[in-house]
């Protein structure tokens, strides 16, 4: 694992000179003096500044690599509300990430500024002549400051976008290509993506500097005791920012920064998701923990790799399948098959369990609504109660979210989403709302707002109206923050479903292969439980897709690095489940009638055998 990361970082370090040379070459670009441009860039490459910058950049890449390793996840955390997303962004761990990346951004742009040279060379320079007769006063070089701040900004936005877009999520490839070809295929996309992102960053940064640029400038001036050069254009003006050469350099440095980091990330992903072949069994007892059945019981990355290996062996390798179907030498027990099958089935039944619980929560949620036994007033109060419960539960879930980003239980998913009536221990909160007050029950904002004046003009003055407006605005904000994002809870439920998909594929492939290859009949003994587990899951998944938002398609992300695979995992799981069922029914055909199962399952199976699913 760490070895793979080291290898990926080593490759990114090896690629650094190439990108740096390209950067140096492009930074000197001039259309009208091509020969001078080329000769200058070549002489630049041998300069000591470039060598020093390279050493520094290696350090930066190392740190980025370490952060990739520390922050990656194979199971993404899907925030179900805006407030949870906010919590994710403000989480201390994430703050460290942002801070370090801002600092490294400064370092990279410092290197870039040094390599470009010219006016980005130094922080403070003697003021120009007409400024003062003394000439000894040091003036701030605003370009330099502008550049370094841009680095910090880009580093921060890289980190921020990383958390918003789940850049730390590592998904596995649908096909097994070798590492070099994968990298080669992705590289053009990564370059394009970096360039486009850099363009957006430059735009945002210019806006930022236009409005707030004077703050850091004044701060630097006072701390370093340098002066502002009034003869030069200030950069937080329109004319100062419309310097195309500056913008070009800024964009190029941003692209360079993002490209090195993205390449590091890409290589990291490619290296750790590469298929690894675990031995099915070992004759040495000390190696047993390295064998496939044992690794399947571990967590996260190792488990995912083991499941991927199971999926591949079940499709491609006859000899390894034979090992799975083999009997233990003394005793004659199918330990390998039993362990693998048990693990896969427990994964699948966990998912069914999770889905069923989620459906129960949703169903109970629907039933609790007619809690209002009295009048209209009463129902609005329950609405308020719901709202406050929601806020509390969301706050609680924030803490939960911050503690574990690991596997989700439906209750935790639900805590993060709206469950207005799930907790009843918040009655004191309702006490704060006076039922006679005019802003009582103002949650259904648009309707009340429109009717509002008619209701209130009789009894309340202008002051109260202002109060109400204020209160409403806050409530709308809260509503916005706590409202469940559509389909997010669905995504969160299926966040780790890649494991289930592999388990289904691997298991069904093994079962189908056993028709011809299983000499001892070890698979037959498990066939009823495999079928019933799959049918149960099928039922749960079908029910889940009947819920609102569950079958709505997410927006497809355009780039390779913003991996949105997890958003569609539920569809992939549904397809894989059907394929797995069909694979078994196609292989066994009429023989399945002799498998023992409940009448309901038999009916369902019959549907599959008649190709009606």
């Amino acid at each position: 694992m760490s070895l793979l990361t080291a290898a990926s970082v080593a490759w990114s370090v090896l690629l650094l000179p190439v990108t740096t040379a390209l950067f140096a070459f492009l930074s000197r670009f001039s259309l009208f003096h091509p020969i001078q441009w080329i000769s200058e860039s070549f002489s630049l490459l041998y300069g000591s500044y470039v060598i020093f910058s390279l050493v520094l950049l290696c350090g930066v890449v190392l740190v980025v690599g370490v952060f990739n390793l520390e922050y990656y996840t194979v199971v993404p955390s899907v925030p179900c509300t805006k407030i949870a997303l906010l919590g994710k962004v403000l989480h201390p761990q994430q703050s460290v990430h942002s801070l370090v990346h801002s600092m490294m951004g400064i370092m990279v742009t410092w290197c870039a500024a040094t390599m470009i040279g010219g006016r980005y060379w130094i922080l403070a320079a003697p003021c120009s002549e007409e400024e003062g007769v003394t000439g000894q006063k040091m003036c701030l070089n605003e370009y330099y400051l502008f550049f370094l701040l841009a680095g910090a900004f880009m580093g921060y936005s890289y980190s921020l976008l990383g958390v918003v877009r789940n850049m730390n999520y590592v998904s596995f490839q649908t096909i097994q290509q070798c590492k070099y070809l994968r990298f080669k295929g992705m590289l053009p996309q990564v370059v394009r993506y970096s360039a486009v992102q850099s363009l957006y960053s430059v735009r945002n940064y210019c806006l930022f500097y236009f409005f707030f640029g004077y703050i850091p400038r004044a701060w630097i001036c006072t701390t370093l005791n340098v002066h502002e050069d009034s003869s030069l254009h200030r950069l937080d003006t329109v004319s100062g920012l419309l310097d195309f050469r500056l913008l070009y350099h800024l964009w190029l440095s941003g692209t360079f920064l993002l490209l090195t980091w993205h390449i590091t990330l890409l290589l990291f992903r490619i290296f750790i998701t590469e298929a690894y072949s675990f031995p099915v069994q070992s004759s040495f007892s000390e190696d047993v923990s390295q064998c496939l059945p044992k690794v399947l019981m571990t967590f996260l990355l190792n488990q995912f790799l083991a499941l991927q290996d199971l999926f591949l062996l079940s499709q491609q390798s006859l000899s390894r399948r034979m090992e799975v179907f083999s009997l233990s030498q003394p005793g004659g027990h199918p330990h390998n098959w039993n362990a693998i099958c048990k693990e896969c089935l427990s994964l699948l039944s966990d998912l069914s369990q999770r889905l069923v619980e989620y459906q129960e929560v949703v169903a109970s949620n629907g039933r609790a609504r007619p809690l209002s036994s009295h009048s209209d007033q009463r129902s609005t109060s329950s609405e308020t109660l719901g709202m406050s419960t929601l806020i509390i539960s969301s706050l609680m879930s924030l803490q939960i979210l911050s503690i574990d980003i690991g596997l989700k239980t439906p209750s935790s998913v639900f805590l993060r989403s709206t469950s207005p009536f799930s907790s009843s221990s918040v009655n004191r909160f309702v006490g704060n709302v006076d039922p006679s007050s005019p802003w009582y029950g103002s949650v259904q904002s648009p309707h009340v707002m429109r009717r509002g004046p008619k209701l209130w003009t009789a009894s309340t003055g202008r002051l109260k109206f202002a109060h109400v407006k204020n209160f409403l605005a806050r409530r709308v904000l809260i509503m916005y923050l706590f409202n469940k994002l559509p389909e997010a809870s669905s995504q969160a439920l299926f966040a780790d479903s890649q494991a289930h998909i592999w388990a289904l594929e691997g298991l069904s492939n093994l079962v189908a292969a056993s028709y011809k290859e299983d000499r001892f009949g070890v698979v037959q003994t498990m066939l009823p439980s495999i079928l019933s587990t799959m049918l149960l899951l099928q039922e749960a998944v079908d029910k889940h897709f009947k819920l609102p938002h569950a079958s709505s398609k997410p927006v497809r992300s355009t780039c390779c690095l913003e991996d949105s695979t997890f958003k569609t995992l539920r569809f992939a799981l549904r397809a894989a489940l059907k394929t797995a069922m069909y694979r078994i029914t196609v292989t066994f055909g009429e023989h399945l009638h002799s498998v023992q199962m409940s009448a309901e399952h038999r009916k369902r199976l019959q549907q599959f055998m008649e190709y009606k699913e």
């Binding site: 649908t174 295929g185 491609q316 397809a575 059907k578 069909y582 008649e610 190709y611 699913e613």
Partner: protein, 510 residues
């Protein structure tokens, strides 16, 4: 080697081929002369006249509908969205002088001319790029004379008695043995359908190769609706990947491949996730035809140039096979995936390639059938048959091969025929020519994937008829589920070497 001279002469005019029994094709005048056995797929007729093709030659109708009072910005934005940079330049170059300064229009027209010159250079490298996309589909489609054919694509479901037909009016109909309803699928993006394929190990998913996207329909088999809504279709598209001329599902149903003659990358789709992995190889200038071997281990991908590739699907590396004469027009795999038959444009022969996992296997293609023109004397006089191969189909048991020939000359030669060599354990036997109604030419053929009593060939004819010709035989090598290795071809390797001059060699590449 098999050649056309070994074939029995085609049947008399006015007769149609009904079925095969005892290694002979039986002709008759009507379909009723054979008793029915179980479910018979319906013989359908889609008259060419009843189908209205969509008269949408791209952009010709644009001027009629576009509101010309739009501002320049609006028009430019629309041109950019519709046809990219060249559209934008064209729009600006054609502006009046009041709207834009003269130097801009002149600059745009110069840039446009430069662009066209560069693209014409590109086009001279790969001539197919100069075709319009509709012509491109017609050129590379497996259907003979695609643009004028009433039936444009046909697909049997791999597991159940159900098939889908794509018609000239861009609609798709689905016929099922178990239900009387025949749903019609229509979609806004479903234009110029070049290929259809049902997803294996699934009852409902049907992939459609369209003009500028791939559609995957999910047709609920239990639904009674005759017009499933377009919400049942998933749209898969990738910029620069159109028109799609060929698609192939992996036999285990997990991946979908798509190919476009314009795009040098072949797309591997994860359909549920709607994401794709491009497999880019620059040589050849595009990918025209895909065929996945039934065991799932290899994929044939032919290009518009004299080059085709065979991908292995474990790590997705490919072997390059340069051809001598023309591009690879079609290919088909034996049921166990060890043998590939293919034909090359400009040659009237069928080549075979054998793949084994053992190292040192021969890396040369051998000629297995010669299809050059041959004369037969029948009761109506001389009949000449022969030509290039348009498409081939190998039945799922590996015992019958149907070949659709494309004639070299239009008139007196009755050239478009299907010939069916039987493949037996140690001999290639010729069966004969399948004839349709008089005046009808075959356009497309496909075997039923699991016909119990032998093989069932479905042929689409030029008059819009879809007929099914059963071949009754007892399989020599086990059942469909258990193909015990495809029978070897009679041709020993040495013979091919003697033939010498037309061998093809591979170059290994990754």
């Amino acid at each position: 080697m098999n050649s056309l001279s070994l074939f029995p002469p085609p049947g008399p005019d006015g007769n149609i081929t009904l079925f095969e029994s005892n290694n002979e094709l039986v002709c008759g005048t009507s379909l009723g002369s054979r008793q029915k056995q179980g479910w018979e797929p319906p013989s359908l007729l889609f008259p060419r006249e009843s189908l209205k093709p969509h008269s949408r030659p791209e952009s010709s109708s644009k001027a009629a509908f576009l509101d010309h009072r739009d501002t320049l910005w609006m028009r430019s934005a629309r041109a950019w969205r519709d046809s990219g940079l060249s559209g934008l330049l064209d729009e600006i170059a054609n502006c009046t002088e009041e709207e834009v300064p003269r130097w801009l229009t002149v600059g745009c027209s110069w840039t446009l001319a430069l662009l066209r010159w560069v693209s014409s250079f590109h086009g001279s490298l790969f001539p197919h790029l100069t075709l319009s996309s509709e012509d491109m589909v017609a050129e590379f489609s497996q259907v003979l004379d695609w643009s004028d054919c009433a039936v444009r694509a046909f697909a049997w479901h791999p597991h159940t008695d159900k098939f889908a037909v794509s018609l000239l009016d861009d609609s798709i109909r689905i016929y099922n043995s178990k239900s009387a309803t025949a749903p019609t699928l229509k979609h806004r993006l479903q234009r110029n359908v070049a290929a259809l394929q049902w997803k294996p190990l699934c009852a409902s998913a049907l992939a459609v190769a369209c003009h500028n996207c791939l559609l995957v329909w999910h047709v609920d088999p239990t639904s009674l609706s005759t017009r499933p809504s377009s919400g049942c279709a998933q749209v898969l598209s990738h910029p620069g990947h159109c028109p799609v001329t060929s698609i192939a599902w992996s036999p285990n149903g997990s991946l979908l491949l798509s190919a476009s003659p314009v795009d040098t990358a072949m797309m591997v789709w994860d359909v549920a996730g709607e994401s794709c992995v491009p497999l880019q190889r620059v040589g050849g200038g595009g990918v025209t035809f895909l065929s996945w071997s039934p065991d799932g281990s290899r994929v044939l991908a032919s290009t518009p140039s004299a080059l085709f590739r065979v991908w292995e699907t474990r790590t997705w590396t490919c072997e390059r096979w340069p051809c001598l004469k023309g591009r690879c027009q079609t290919g088909c795999w034996s049921p166990d995936g060890t043998r590939l038959l293919f034909s090359v444009q400009g040659e009237m022969v069928i080549y075979a390639l054998t793949f084994t996992d053992a190292p040192g296997s021969s890396k040369a293609a051998a000629i297995v059938a010669d299809l050059s023109e041959t004369s037969f004397s029948t009761s109506q006089g001389q009949v000449r048959v022969g030509g290039q191969v348009q498409t081939m189909a190998w039945d799922p048991r590996g015992e019958r091969l149907a070949v659709l020939l494309k004639g070299t000359e239009p008139e007196p030669v009755i050239s478009q025929h299907i010939l069916l060599p039987v493949v037996r354990s140690h001999s290639t036997t010729s069966i004969g020519f399948v004839k349709g109604e008089s005046g009808a030419e075959p356009r497309l053929l496909q075997f039923h994937p699991h016909f119990p009593n032998g093989a069932l060939l479905t042929v689409c004819w030029s008059n819009g008829r879809i007929s099914h010709v059963p071949f009754f035989f007892v399989s020599a090598g086990g059942s469909v589920l258990n193909p015990g290795g495809s029978p070897p071809w009679p041709l020993p390797q040495s013979r091919a070497v003697e033939n010498g001059e037309r061998l093809l060699y591979t170059e290994m590449s990754s």
